[in-house]
């Protein structure tokens, strides 16, 4: 392993500050080649180390979550790139009512047309704010889009073939939370909490370059977070004793809280979380609904992305409020529907 940490690595760090093309430099391309070579050469010992049953089952679950979520991720990324490139942001500003109080539910429902996961909705919401959409409406869109779009709802229906009411519950609860947060921001929010989002735009490039640039960035970015989520889910499934989850599942209140916290920690893409929720079959449907409502609205990676896009003072206030409201709404909707 000492060979990997050879001197060239630090050079790559400062590449942006040095004139390019001056001799040989260690870039991430070389890093990738080196890494792949090491993995291929060392596959024997690595495979032996991974042959314990617990590691095998960890890897199987890990791969299962990634392989199963990737097609949905790719589909969402393609559609969101098409929307970002071929639908001008000014269209959204024109389509929304002028009164912010009315714009909030309209933007919330409009979230249904952005097929993608939460990773896609953060940049779109940032663009909306930049184009003069009322922040309260943009935030309602930010929260509703990852949860109520057709792809996510279809995935939910596929994951819960025996409980179609989960799809309706997810739709209603998510929309209610999104609107409530929008109105709450309109009432209490202050503009100085919100740092105007600055983000590289693809303007100036051709449409094709912008489209594929967006696809590449979103797959690499969301894919990386998907791997994190899959690792956490696999660890939970392969290592945590089932009796522990059973204890939490026994008490209705603890079950809801436990799965809400789990949703925040796992940070699973909203296009894949329904399948994980379906596997947590020892929990009540209401607890699993809370998992599905909380997850797309607030989790660790989303908090990081929101802080990056809108500023930390915004994220620190917005995230806890969303978390509490999402749990309350899930319990309410669960009591009525499930």
């Amino acid at each position: 392993m000492t060979i990997v940490k050879a001197p060239p690595a630090p050079v790559g760090r400062h590449r942006g500050e040095e004139p390019p093309q001056q001799g040989w430099q260690f870039t991430s391309t070389h890093g990738l080649v080196l890494l792949l070579l090491l993995l291929v050469v060392g596959q024997g010992p690595i495979r032996r180390a991974l042959s314990a049953p617990v590691m095998q089952s960890w890897m199987t679950v890990f791969l299962a979550v990634v392989v199963q979520a990737l097609p949905f991720l790719v589909l969402g990324v393609l559609l969101s790139a098409a929307l970002a490139v071929f639908v001008p942001p000014s269209f959204f500003a024109r389509a929304l009512p002028e009164r912010p109080g009315l714009a909030v539910p309209v933007a919330g429902v409009a979230g249904a047309v952005l097929p993608g996961c939460e990773c896609a909705s953060v940049p779109v919401a940032g663009a909306l704010v930049r184009r003069g959409v009322a922040p309260s409406a943009a935030l309602a869109f930010l929260l509703s889009a990852p949860a109520i779009n057709p792809i996510v709802l279809t995935a939910t229906a596929v994951a819960f073939p025996r409980n179609p009411e989960m799809v309706l519950g997810r739709f209603v609860a998510s929309l209610l939370v999104a609107c409530a947060m929008g109105w709450l921001w309109q009432r209490l929010g202050r503009t100085d909490w919100l740092r105007p989002p600055a983000r590289a735009s693809y303007e100036g490039d051709g449409k094709g370059a912008a489209f594929w640039g967006s696809v590449r960035h979103d797959v690499m970015h969301a894919g990386g977070f998907l791997v994190v989520g899959a690792m956490a889910a696999a660890t939970l499934k392969a290592v945590a004793p089932e009796s522990w989850l059973r204890t939490a599942a026994g008490n209705p209140a603890v079950a809801v809280l436990a799965l809400s916290v789990l949703a925040v920690l796992l940070s699973i893409c909203s296009e894949a979380d329904a399948f994980v929720a379906a596997s947590l079959s020892q929990f009540s449907l209401t607890a699993r609904l809370a998992f599905l409502v909380v997850g797309p609205m607030i989790d660790l990676k989303l908090f990081a992305m929101q802080a990056g896009t809108f500023g930390r003072s915004f994220a620190l206030r917005f995230a806890p409020a969303t978390f509490v409201l999402a749990i309350l709404m899930s319990v309410l909707v669960g009591a009525v529907l499930l």
Binding site: R13, T27, T29, P53, T60, V67, V215, V227
Partner: protein, 262 residues
Amino acid sequence: MNRQAQAAVLFLVGGAMLHAGTTSLYLRYVKAGLQPLLLAAGAVLIVAAAATAWYELRRARDTRRRAETGSADAGHGDVQDGHDGHDDDRGHGHREPRISWLLVLPLFALILVAPPALGSYSALRSGTALQPPLAYPALPSGDPVSLSLVDYAGRAAYGHGRSLGGRTVEVTGFVALDRGGTPYLVRMALNCCAADAQPVKIGLSGKLPPVLQPDSWLEVTGTYTGKRAEDPVNGGIIPFIDVTAARPVPTPKDPYDESWNQ
């Protein structure tokens, strides 16, 4: 990670998806119905990789041309380069995601390790997922009659074997031995992917092979027995089968029971 490396990773991930989707490898991890989606996603990723590489080549050519035409423009090109990533820490929203390095992990796991479908380890950690069957349709013809493990377990546990009519049956599953050494024949049932797979277990009694290897696949011939046990994990019913013959079989193409999907 710079764009060349990203193109390489996109290509490799897309290729791995195509590889898994065109062989029966994907059946170890997800349900059979996902195959077209897997292939489509793999193809899109490969196109995205090609497009990334092509635009990257063109950008490099433009930058070089600008550098040749004047020094002022060359400076501009340099700034552009920084903005476009290359492991750059300064720009906030402009940084290429470092988290993408993690995509190498599933690639490695899928191509170099290709772990087997869930086996006895997972089966013994979770309780049996046997549900009462909706109906007991008439048995197909044949002697012995070939039944899925889940079908036999449902008829034996909830129909008390009455719908089996004393006939000899043949079921296939993998072997799991609990701590006390009781042998079970198990099939994992799944809704969507291995993350939600749950075991359905039947106990083996009667004439068993002298050595039972966990995770090996067996085709067991036998008859209904009233013997049953309680699953220590969740208290579910584990019916037994009175074995008359058992023969080792290769792992089936689809190791999971997907009858829940139909």
